[in-house]
């Protein structure tokens, strides 16, 4: 089959690879009908997250049709079922899964020792996301083996299109969890940094969860226009001061809830000198991430507010103003998304017509064009926001 394979920094290729095979009785194999490129994939494209090996298959947002099931799937799935695959692989049985803390499932990381060493405790296995989280092949491919398939799937009805349900596997629940973790009150201003696909979902989730106003921050006009379409007031940080505008919009209180949908690769510019400092330290291997957004959120957030962080950080960050955070009494919520905690409710919202996540798709191409689309998405060319691939 064909698959998008990581060969090194900025080197993803469409390779011929062998087909996946059932390995464990809880496995299933799907024929991928749609998959997508995520902002998280860019961190791998840039080789910022360690533990990728040449030959690793990319991709963790995918859906398709079940073509083979292991004996242990026990009727939970059958051939022909149409499923979305959550990017977090779950066993459904361990203590964390029982508490719905699915992204820290204790059993699905098959490289648990590595996870234990690096993080202190292992986290769940993830598709296409380095050997720290199991080294599972990803879904930017024609076929995918889904481990623990009896638990790791979301069945979707036939009358919805792939485009409507595909994002149940990652960015929709990710934006939703980011907003839900904020415990939004009807009087709250929710500020969302980053208007990429995750930011777009967070904006709409905050609105549906009843925020008084949602403010969206980015520097790309096309992304800001999409944020405004979702009901947000926008701030272009290349043209105006984020802190000043947020103060203005909140009667100088600051937003009660702040969501970081940017993560470790904050835009570098001389107008934000700390980003240049971070970039220089990154180049000297003295810091992993560029936490500009974290610093800004801590500074501007209303005391006793919540900082919610779906944006991915990989390792050590520098110059985090802990004194401000502590004295303002801020609450931090973060993590890889507990996808399956939210999917039933979110699927219902799609079926009910409350929201249609397909709005975010700007490019749809075949798998062979995937490598070029990584570049287009990374370079923010052609007003690209979300790429869907059709294997």
């Amino acid at each position: 089959m064909r698959a998008l394979v990581w060969h090194g920094k900025e080197d993803i290729r469409c390779d011929q690879v062998s087909d996946p095979e059932i390995e464990d009785e809880r496995d299933a194999i799907i024929k991928v009908t749609s998959c997508a490129i995520c902002g998280s994939d860019l961190h791998l494209y840039h080789n910022y997250v360690p533990a990728m090996l040449p030959g690793d298959i990319m991709g963790h947002e995918m859906m398709g049709e079940v073509v083979e099931v292991g004996r242990g799937v026990n009727g939970a799935l059958k051939k022909g079922d149409r499923i979305v695959v959550p990017f977090t692989i779950i066993c459904g049985e361990c203590d964390q899964c029982k508490r719905q803390n699915f992204s820290v499932c204790e059993r699905t990381n098959r490289k648990k020792n590595l996870g234990d060493k690096v993080f202190g405790h292992t986290t769940a296995g993830l598709f296409g996301y380095t050997h720290l989280t199991g080294g599972y092949p990803g879904g930017q491919a024609e076929y995918l083996r889904v481990p623990f398939a009896d638990a790791t799937h979301v069945k979707v009805p036939d009358n919805l299109t792939d485009e409507q349900v595909l994002f149940l596997g990652d960015i929709f629940p990710t934006g939703w969890q980011a907003a839900a973790q904020c415990d939004i009150e009807p009087t709250d201003t929710v500020a969302v940094w980053g208007c990429g696909p995750v930011g777009q979902m967070a904006i709409r989730s905050a609105l549906l969860l009843g925020a008084k106003q949602v403010v969206a921050i980015d520097c790309l006009p096309e992304r800001l226009s999409m944020g405004a379409a979702g009901g947000a007031i926008t701030i272009n940080f290349a043209e105006e001061s984020v802190v000043e505008r947020l103060q203005e919009l909140t009667g100088a209180n600051g937003p009660e809830k702040c969501i970081d949908c940017v993560g470790m690769e904050s835009h570098v510019s001389l107008a934000q000198p700390d980003t240049v400092y971070d970039r220089a330290k990154q180049l000297m291997l003295m810091e992993n991430d560029r936490p500009h957004v974290l610093r800004e959120m801590i500074y501007v957030c209303r005391p006793a507010g919540v900082i919610s962080i779906p944006g991915v950080y990989s390792g050590l960050v520098d110059k985090i103003p802990m004194g401000q955070a502590m004295n303002k009494g801020l609450t931090f919520r973060m993590g890889q998304t507990h996808v399956t905690r939210w999917t039933e409710d979110l699927l219902r919202r799609i079926v009910d017509g409350q929201i249609d996540p397909s709005f975010v798709i700007t490019h749809t191409v075949g798998l062979e064009q995937g490598p070029e689309m990584y570049k287009v998405f990374r370079d923010k060319q052609d007003s690209c926001i979300k790429v869907v691939l059709k294997p």
């Binding site: 064909r2 840039h46 040449p54 030959g55 790309l220 929201i355 709005f359 060319q381």
Partner: protein, 182 residues
Amino acid sequence: MNVVAKLTNITRSPGDPKVLQAGPSVAGAFDGLARKLGWFSIALGVVELVGAERIAGALGMSGKQDLIRAYGAREISSGILSLSVDKQAGLWSRVAGDGLDIATLLSAYRHDNPKRDNVGIALAVVAGIALLDIIGAKGVTARHSRRGTKPRDYSDRSGFPAGTAAARDFARSERGQESGAA
């Protein structure tokens, strides 16, 4: 690359797909040039750092060893930047560095310098490399730039099939139900 990707096949479990045939790289010619210039920059920087004395001697620039070492450090940082994802910045920093090199060499291209001929050769070499740097910098900038196309307007993409106002109303009523039930 094909070989490395296939080598890692031995680390993969039986059911995992293994690379049979790697596809073509989509890196552009200028991305390749950036990489070559990046490595060249690092190599030259190391030579300037460790061989500052000899370079100063050959160019009749005695007393300028520290300057040459500083230029070496500059070359190395430009090289690292050119090899990173910010290769545009790396190559433009090389172009600026070439300017500095040329200015410094011109100051040594005096009639009373017994090594004037060597300085002339060095000037020609640096000018040639500067040309390559400019071509490379312009090339990668064009390949990765957003310029040229107007940002699209997505203000018709609310994502709420019934519209944003309806979504707000809905949120309010859902909240009402929750607090009513509590």
